[in-house]
């Protein structure tokens, strides 16, 4: 029986506890939070064995084999380091660490101690995402990816989160190097990182505070981000984070030289895009029918999974946790390669670095249609291109 512990007993810990309890061959031996009341409430609701408010006591007395870290990101590195030093395998919620360098140190430590560590990029293990991976691996794209398009949006307006976050400058999100972005974008970036082959893609990032937030008096938080990622002039990717666009997409498109795929995370659908065209008018009639059939196929799959009771909102997390545990018990390969975790962290470093530089330089950011006259628009655009060519290679 694999002994599991959870550090950090907030909202995300609830999701972990629910999914862990669905997995056979493991039990939650303890939960820990600096705030004893928070630890107690999780312990009480999930019938956990013990609760603690001191990390070292928890590690020493509950002796977990695996620790899930679900604390705010600022503490991920220190807690993960201690867990590894005391011989525990570690599952760290996203964002893995604050900086790429911390990610490197944790992975090096895990390797040194012959322990395993993973990042909570569970969206990549949802049912449709797994189907996509299988298709890519089977060569459906024809070649390696030519281009990817990853949307990871966030509806700020739907929650009271905006008000609380903006009103409270002491909120921990304000203290993250990438602020709001850092807490959210890693899922969408990791999707791209999974299919990059080099370790040093070029990154060009442009971000700004949306008019809505500016109207609320916010100047620091960037909630609109566009990123261009390219590697060795073979694979490119766009990443979009937006709080304003509708629909608020969580979508990933990947195109090879032959075919493409569209993954819609919200609708849990995967659509195959044919590279070949039909002749003449057939192209106008047959593809819509093929797409309709594919959507029906997705509907059938989703319903089948639901009826089998295998379609939980956090199905991706269960799959990732289960695969991680299996890799520990059977000493097999990890569900997320370290390379991908590191690359995700480095891309995020580069994005936040560029956004910081933009902010410090206070230079106008390219916004098409904003310029007073076309000449200005052109000059801003050319500056943007120039900065792109100077952009940091990782």
């Amino acid at each position: 029986m694999l002994k599991v512990g959870i550090v950090g007993c907030g909202k995300v810990a609830d999701e972990h506890a629910s999914q862990i309890q669905r997995i056979k061959g493991c039990e939650i031996v303890g939960v820990c939070d600096r705030e004893p009341l928070m630890a107690r409430q999780l312990y009480e609701r999930f019938a956990v064995k013990r609760y603690f408010s001191d990390l070292m006591e928890f590690l020493g007395q509950a002796k977990p084999d695996v620790v899930h870290i679900t604390t705010p990101p600022q503490s991920h590195f220190d807690i993960a380091k201690r867990c590894l030093e005391l011989g525990c395998h570690v599952y760290v919620e996203k964002p893995f660490t604050l900086y790429g360098e911390e990610a490197e140190r944790l992975i090096a430590l895990a390797n040194e101690r012959r322990l395993k560590i993973t990042a909570g990029h569970d969206d990549q293990f949802r049912p449709a995402a797994r189907r996509m991976r299988a298709l890519v691996e089977s060569g459906f794209l024809g070649t390696g990816p030519v281009h990817m398009d990853s949307y990871y949006c966030y509806e700020l307006g739907q929650s009271d989160y905006a008000g609380a976050l903006l009103g409270d400058k002491g909120h921990w999100v304000h203290r993250l190097p990438g602020k709001l972005l850092q807490n959210i974008i890693s899922h969408g970036i990791a999707r791209i990182a999974e299919f990059l082959v080099t370790d040093s893609p070029h990154i060009i990032a442009d971000g700004f505070t949306s008019p809505r937030l500016r109207d609320m008096g916010e100047t620091e938080i960037i909630d609109e981000l566009r990123v261009i990622i390219s590697e060795e002039e073979r694979t490119t990717a766009y990443f979009t984070f937006s709080t304003q666009m509708r629909p608020s997409l969580h979508e990933f498109r990947i195109y090879g030289a032959k075919n493409g795929l569209i993954l819609d995370q919200d609708q849990e659908t995967l659509i195959k895009l044919r590279g070949d065209r039909f002749k003449s008018y057939v192209e106008k009639f047959l593809p819509p029918a093929i797409l309709a059939a594919q959507y029906l196929g997705n509907l059938k799959t989703n319903m089948r999974n639901f009826i089998r009771s295998d379609f939980h909102m956090k199905a991706g997390m269960k799959y990732l946790v289960e695969s991680f545990y299996r890799s520990i018990v059977e000493n097999t390969s990890l569900p997320i390669p370290y390379r991908e975790i590191l690359l995700t962290a480095r891309i995020m470093d580069a994005i936040f670095g560029q956004l910081d530089a933009q902010r410090l330089a206070r230079r106008p950011i390219l916004r098409v249609g904003r310029a007073a006259n076309p000449v200005e628009a052109t000059s801003v655009a050319s500056r943007f291109r120039a900065s792109a060519s100077r952009s940091r290679a990782l």
């Binding site: 609830d14 609701r45 008000g163 009103g167």
Partner: protein, 354 residues
């Protein structure tokens, strides 16, 4: 209000948490009107202050209203806010939170912080904990029985599948626990559904809006309503009256409409919409099935509907305000008909949804 009957004088410092909220702002207004001259309103940095600022502008001469900006999650803020305080009305709570930890954090951890801070200063004469009807189990009684202060609260409140119920039950628990341990004097006030201008939704006790249709579940059940001004006055009295320490007070008004009457009036005065009545045996069966399915599927559907929930919200129950009247001398000043009229009018103006 007679000051001789009260545990504090008009110049003693009163702290009101949740003062920016729906009930809290009415409480501040009521206290000022009753002649209390030293109020401290706790507000978060993100709180909207319009309601409180409007009251400050109209406060009687000589009255002092301080807005204390902070977060009850911070022990330091609690310590500073409770300094010299003689009476605390604790209304702040995580009300909209759907997740258990968030609701717990903003209701229980905050309450513990306040209690501990008050103990450090040692000048508190009463802690008024505003709880809710949501904590009562209502499970063991036969139909058409009375729900009053003697009724049991949920033993395992998380089984209700409702974060608010869990947090409020735990909040009550921690107040009683602290009082037993430290002797801190407290009173618990449990309002039913508080209505009035400022709220536009229909209580879940009447029914729920889902997939474009309103499911009417209350039928002939009386709805435990209390008009916001009446409720605020009950809370004020529970804090002020002598010799009521450690007591619990339920707050409901007189002449409670049935769920069917309420819905009819709402449709007539606010907005017409389609509703479908589900008899009690049907809603019970659906809750039972949902509960079983949620169990069987290991939470593929979250256990938000279950038999505990049905008993608490849709079982036919009578309510009483007897203890409020006899122990505190409370009477609802705004009659039900007038309260409903003002509420519907405000709903109409606020573009309501069912």
């Amino acid at each position: 209000m007679e000051f001789d009957d009260f545990i504090i004088g008009r110049d003693d410092l009163i702290l009101i948490t949740g003062a920016t909220g729906f009930i809290g702002s009415k409480l501040v207004q009521g206290l000022l009107k009753s002649g209390f001259r030293n109020l401290r309103c706790f507000a978060r940095p993100s709180s909207k202050l319009e309601r409180i600022e409007a009251l400050c502008d109209r406060r009687p001469a000589g009255a002092h209203v301080e807005v204390f900006r902070g977060n009850l999650l911070s022990r330091e803020d609690c310590l500073a806010a409770t300094k010299h305080v003689a009476l605390i009305f604790h209304l702040a709570a995580g009300r909209g939170e759907k997740s258990f930890p968030d609701a717990f954090l903003n209701s229980v951890v905050t309450t513990r912080n306040l209690l501990e801070a008050s103990l450090r200063h040692g000048c508190l004469r009463r802690f008024v904990n505003v709880s809710s009807f949501a904590v009562y189990t209502n499970r063991k009684k036969l139909r058409w029985r009375l729900l009053d202060e003697s009724c049991p609260v949920e033993n395992d409140p998380w089984l209700r599948g409702d974060a608010y119920c869990y947090a409020k039950a735990k909040q009550d628990e921690i107040v009683v626990e602290y009082s037993k341990r430290t002797g801190i004097p407290y009173v618990i006030v449990r309002p039913g559904y508080v209505f009035g201008p400022g709220k536009t939704n229909i209580t879940g006790r009447v029914g729920i809006s889902t997939f474009g249709i309103f499911l009417h579940l209350g039928g002939s059940n009386p709805v435990p309503l209390t008009y916001v001004d009446n409720c605020a006055e009950a809370i004020a009295l529970a804090g002020l009256k002598k010799n009521v320490d450690s007591e619990v007070f339920n707050v409901v008004d007189d002449a409670l409409p049935t769920s069917r009457q309420f819905l009819g009036l709402y449709k007539q005065h606010v907005k017409r919409f389609k509703s479908l009545y589900l008899p009690h045996f049907v809603s019970y069966a659906l809750c039972y099935l949902w509960e079983r399915y949620s169990d069987w599927s290991a939470g593929q559907l979250p256990p938000v509907f279950n038999r505990n929930h049905w008993h608490a919200y849709w079982k036919k129950t009578r309510y009483s305000n007897e203890r409020l009247r006899t122990r505190l001398g409370w009477k609802p000043k705004v009659p039900m008909a007038e309260g409903l009229r003002r509420y519907f009018e405000a709903c109409r103006d606020a573009q309501p949804y069912a």
